[in-house]
């Protein structure tokens, strides 16, 4: 029976009827995700339209950012997202032992992001750059720090999921918590996908 259920829920192709369509995770987390996307959206557009008034300043100061660090962080976040995705898939398939391994891998990637980001901040701090240095740096620090805090929260969430997965909490019949946490983490990734080109690349 359990295997049947597992196979049913792991059916990846789009369900045939609208009734089969299901939102992964809890509605509450999705309301939260929408609110967060709204905040980030407004912040992104504030950056973009402010830049339009200070093109030269933004362009020259943007070149002082560490693009490679930004790219590596993108890779780390995407990989973490992939690991989280695999953890959910493992839970659906009833492969309990693999859930916490994938989560651990995701946590490692998240930690990698934190290390790279702290390195970047340390370099900027050493150069005497702060929120009050210029409009560009204000945005750079505000946007990335706000996102950075989301990564930290995401790590806490993944950590809780990992502990609970080790205790055997998740399986085909109990996915709500895992899917909710996973959705939150993917949101952190999604936001970075826009943030990285916006702040580091677009000139």
């Amino acid at each position: 029976m359990a295997v049947d259920a597992a196979q049913l829920t792991s059916l990846q192709p789009v369900p045939a009827t609208a009734a089969d369509r299901r939102l992964p995770g809890d509605l509450a987390v999705w309301v939260f995700i929408l609110a967060e996307l709204l905040v980030f959206g407004v912040f992104f557009l504030s950056y973009a339209f402010t830049r339009a008034h200070h093109v030269a300043e933004f362009n020259s100061e943007q070149l002082t950012l560490n693009r490679a660090a930004g790219a590596w962080n993108t890779v780390l976040l995407l990989t973490a997202s992939y690991c989280v995705y695999r953890a959910v898939a493992a839970a659906r398939a009833g492969a309990r032992s693999r859930i916490d391994l994938w989560l651990l891998a995701a946590l490692a990637c998240g930690a990698g992001f934190v290390v790279v980001k702290l390195g970047e901040y340390a370099a900027k701090l050493a150069a005497g750059i702060s929120l009050s240095t210029s409009t560009f740096y204000m945005f750079y620090l505000s946007l990335t720090f706000f996102h950075f805090m989301h990564v930290l929260l995401g790590i806490v969430v993944l950590g809780v999921l990992w502990l609970r997965a080790r205790a055997g909490a998740y399986g085909p019949a109990n996915l709500n918590g895992l899917e909710s946490g996973a959705s939150y983490w993917h949101m952190v990734d999604l936001v970075w996908i826009v943030l990285f080109p916006l702040v580091y690349l677009l000139r």
Partner: protein
């Protein structure tokens, strides 16, 4: 278990595609490329990556259509307005 396997493969391809797109975007954002011509391409890449995350990783592909619409709509709207802002900044 075939479906599960197909799902995993799909996820892996998604991940690889995202990494490839990131590498391309990083190259585009480098100083060797004329920045202005890269703007639409970089925005399009960001939207494409976002759509992949929304549909595959977040699994909204299999959720009621309104959720996918909301998130992809957010992506497209934000990217489009960023584009507008960039071109309004041209002098």
């Amino acid at each position: 278990m075939n479906h599960a396997l197909a799902g995993r493969r799909r996820g892996t391809w998604t991940w690889l595609a995202l990494l490839g797109a990131t590498g391309f975007a990083w190259w585009l954002g480098g100083e060797s490329v004329r920045a202005r011509s890269a703007v639409p391409l970089l925005l399009a890449l960001a939207v494409a990556k976002g759509v992949l995350v929304v549909r595959e990783f977040m699994e909204l592909r299999a959720a009621p259509a309104r959720w996918q619409l909301l998130l992809v709509g957010w992506l497209v709207l934000v990217a489009a307005l960023i584009g507008v802002a960039y071109y309004s900044g041209v002098r």
